[in-house]
Symmetry: C2
Subunit: 370 residues, 2 copies
Amino acid sequence: MAFKTSHSDNGTAARTGVIATSRGRVETPNFMPVGTAGTVKALTPQQLIECGAQIILANTYHLFLRPGPEVIRAFGSLHRFIGWNQPILTDSGGFQIFSLRENTRVSDEGVCFKSHIDGTTFSLTPEAVVDIQNTLDSDIQMVLDYFVPPPAGRGQDERALHLTSLWAARARERFLKTGSRRLQFGIVQGGLHSDLRQRAVRELLAVGFDGYAIGGLSVGESKADFRRILAETAPALPPSSPRYLMGAGTPEDILFAVDQGIDLFDCVLPSRNARNGTLFTSRGKVRIKNERYKTDLLPPDESCACHTCRRFSRAYLRHLYMSGEILSSILNTIHNIHFYLDFLAKIRYAIVSYKWKSFKEDFLSLYQGV
Amino acid sequence: MAFKTSHSDNGTAARTGVIATSRGRVETPNFMPVGTAGTVKALTPQQLIECGAQIILANTYHLFLRPGPEVIRAFGSLHRFIGWNQPILTDSGGFQIFSLRENTRVSDEGVCFKSHIDGTTFSLTPEAVVDIQNTLDSDIQMVLDYFVPPPAGRGQDERALHLTSLWAARARERFLKTGSRRLQFGIVQGGLHSDLRQRAVRELLAVGFDGYAIGGLSVGESKADFRRILAETAPALPPSSPRYLMGAGTPEDILFAVDQGIDLFDCVLPSRNARNGTLFTSRGKVRIKNERYKTDLLPPDESCACHTCRRFSRAYLRHLYMSGEILSSILNTIHNIHFYLDFLAKIRYAIVSYKWKSFKEDFLSLYQGV
């Protein structure tokens, strides 16, 4: 078994565990910094390690377009290409069917894309996505999925789910022939319809995967819908497999999701916010360009042990941001990624030490206090 | 004495030495990475140290405008503000009279600037520049100087020199009253006129400084003029004081200048080229976007021990550059700054080990071989 749970909370579905990959262990719950194009923006792999990263996410669609599989093949793996020796999970391109939907055409066979880089067209099938991910040698591979953004008519969501299930079976078949020492996760779709989500789970379980992701959330739906679908779907997934909530979220979202038994997260929030000058701290978000920080000698977060907080002040970070300096993105990203990874480490420790409930309360009362 | 020479070459004026400052020693010849706004673009102070930096350059004019002296004052020094505990040399704003000349008005008293950030006007006098540099607590302070870009009429160059000498005396007077544990360097101007350069040297020596810089070069003059003025001016400066060639240059320029007895350099070339995808290597410049590097597994420079060359390939650096990733600027800057600092370290070692002549020949034959 590639996944072992260790501790479970009494009052909720929160739990700790370990995902074993051939490139190392991933303690769960955990957060994957997003390295779409083969780099977590503004960080070296060494800095990622120092921030506590155990696994990163990269994107099959983007890497397929640039640099292209033939470049990765010359290196033997994405890991060697980008200088990161720990596990990598690769997204499938399914999210790009949504985010680049102006330039896609979906059929039973797969999806036809018009490149956002040079306008050339190419198609991705569930099988091709597995093949590309095998070339990347990614440790956890997501199947090609399909969803339409809310609000969509039920018919559209049903068709998307139909294709997602069809593609999942084909992807699994290809994977079992070619990718066996790696892990492959299925993706639950179904829009905001409870019954479609349950059907999605049944159809994925019938195929059988090494882990299960919940997709199609954090794409514009209301917070209430997000929580409802998450709370309904997560418990339907087998406890013996890792559960991955794709593309979420805020610290509050993560606490809620861990309560539902989610083990794995990814989100651009910490890195994107960093570049926009917003820092996550134990007391809430800090917008570093604020005039009040002009001569502030304190680090962004006095309780943080990251490289940025140990060495730099709010005033200096404000100066770098106002001056448009690259170092602003670097130091802010170090802090935010460290904040998220440290947050997840604290979540694991709270669960293991039977303090999950009080941890959540303490965190939220301080975090929302700003 | 703040400066001690140790070895001198037999055939040329090349020499090694040490500049002692209250924040540490600077071995010479040496190169100062440029940190205009209080950051060497794209590098953390820790990465600068790992690249071998002993001293960096920062700019009085830019830091005066942003974040402003009141911010630095809250920290006690520029060093504490930016998290760099080693020596800092600060330029005076004299170069900005040239580079921002559309927005300046020069009088005997000083210079009136219109801010390039918000359009407000303010004036800098030689005395004010010393005061600002004392607030920055910079270890080596440049006097406010004035030059006009070539080709200028002799009359203009004479007037500029007249003001530079006048201001130098006033800056020295202020410095001796207020900044004594720091070092202050005078700046030789005089355009491309040999006699004006000699007069500039005489007038500066009559005032007396802790070191002497050659300014007004690498600002658009021909390579022949650059070399002529440098070769005429450097020997006129006292051997017992450090000599600083401002704003130069290419590796070839540096070899030539060390031959003339120059001890200190600064230049934006390695960092600016890095951001533009040009890498300095022992075999010459590498333009990383070149298609030939697409699947190149080798590091930028096989003989380089920098963080970038130890971990990353030309193919990956090309990918980062083509994708417009911040990490491209980071890894390229690490390499180029390391290249320059390592180059200067090799120059020092060559002089100390009586191999200066053969070092130059070997370097140039390999460097120009690409």
